[in-house]
């Protein structure tokens, strides 16, 4: 659904940070994690994940390192302490927002 893609795009930074919460991943694995975690509704052009990862790295939220795997050089990303803090605060903000919307859309009977 188109709306899903728009909403996901608005939260891309948070989703990228969350996909790295349990350890370092390279770009393709980040993309796979987003697709699996969103029931394949994540239909942004996956090539745009790489510039977003670079931007988060420049902002000090991720740390990227080149690693050799299967004869191909790939760039692996991991959360920095600042990235972990940002993810934690984004998560709280999302829960507050989601519970406020739920309270309006699904009032208790």
């Amino acid at each position: 659904m188109r709306a899903d893609a728009q909403v996901l795009k608005g939260h891309l930074d948070t989703l990228l940070l969350a996909s790295l919460e349990n350890g370092p991943r390279h770009g393709y694995a980040v993309k796979e994690a987003l697709r699996a975690g969103s029931d394949a509704r994540f239909d942004l052009p996956t090539g745009t994940i790489y510039p977003a990862l670079r931007r988060l790295e420049a902002a000090g939220l991720l740390k990227g390192t080149w690693a050799e795997a299967g004869g191909r050089r790939r760039r692996t990303y991991e959360l920095t302490p600042a990235g972990r803090r940002r993810l934690a605060s984004d998560r709280i903000a999302w829960r507050d927002f989601a519970s406020a919307v739920s309270a309006i859309l699904e009032p208790a009977p």
Binding site: Y28, T46, G47, T48, Y50, P51, A52, R54, A58
Partner: protein, 189 residues
């Protein structure tokens, strides 16, 4: 390998710095191989991978819009008018035209500042051309040097700096710190 994929990879390398192109290329190849491994024919796998990955213009454009040089240039341009207004006010209040600064130095300073601002404008407004965002790598050190020159001139030459001059110096020191902090990020790989 499919000619479609080859063309796309060549396009990435033509439009982006090597490290960025290499990273995106590895992602596209992995997508393509994933489709091949799940039984698709060569053409079919190439079309599926490219559809999933996004047009070259979209991907290269996104790298450009999120380039550190473009962001640094935008921040410098956004703070430029504040710094410029502070210096203009301070110099007018101090009757700077009576200072013993040679005309060539004044003109030189103005010309270098103008060129640096034009380079920053080009970097800040680039939407599809990554190379243009790299102008910020040239212009930022120039702006830094101009700020240092202006501060040094006041500290060394102004007999009793007015309050306005002190404010202008403080604004410039802030920009010097910011520019020095962003410079290593512009060249990071």
């Amino acid at each position: 390998m499919s000619a479609l994929i080859d063309d796309y990879l060549a396009g990435l390398h033509r439009r982006l710095p090597a490290a960025l192109a290499e990273e995106a290329a590895a992602g596209l190849l992995e997508t393509y191989e994933h489709h091949l491994a799940s039984g698709a024919g060569d053409q079919e796998a190439a079309h599926a991978a490219l559809a999933e990955f996004g047009d070259l213009a979209i991907v290269a454009g996104e790298f450009t819009r999120q380039a550190p040089g473009r962001r640094a240039a935008r921040l410098l341009l956004a703070t430029g008018p504040v710094s410029g207004a502070c210096w203009a006010a301070a110099l007018i209040l101090s009757r700077a035209w009576t200072w013993p600064v040679p005309a060539t130095a004044r003109l030189g300073f103005g010309a270098v500042l103008l060129l640096a601002v034009l380079a920053l404008l080009a970097a800040a407004t680039s939407r599809h051309n990554y190379q243009r965002t790299r102008l910020a790598m040239l212009a930022s050190p120039v702006i830094l040097t101009l700020d240092v020159t202006a501060v040094a001139a006041v500290v060394l030459a102004a007999p009793a700096p007015t309050l306005a001059l002190r404010i202008a110096v403080a604004v410039s020191l802030g920009r010097i710190a910011f520019t020095a902090w962003t410079l290593p990020r512009l060249t990071a790989r």
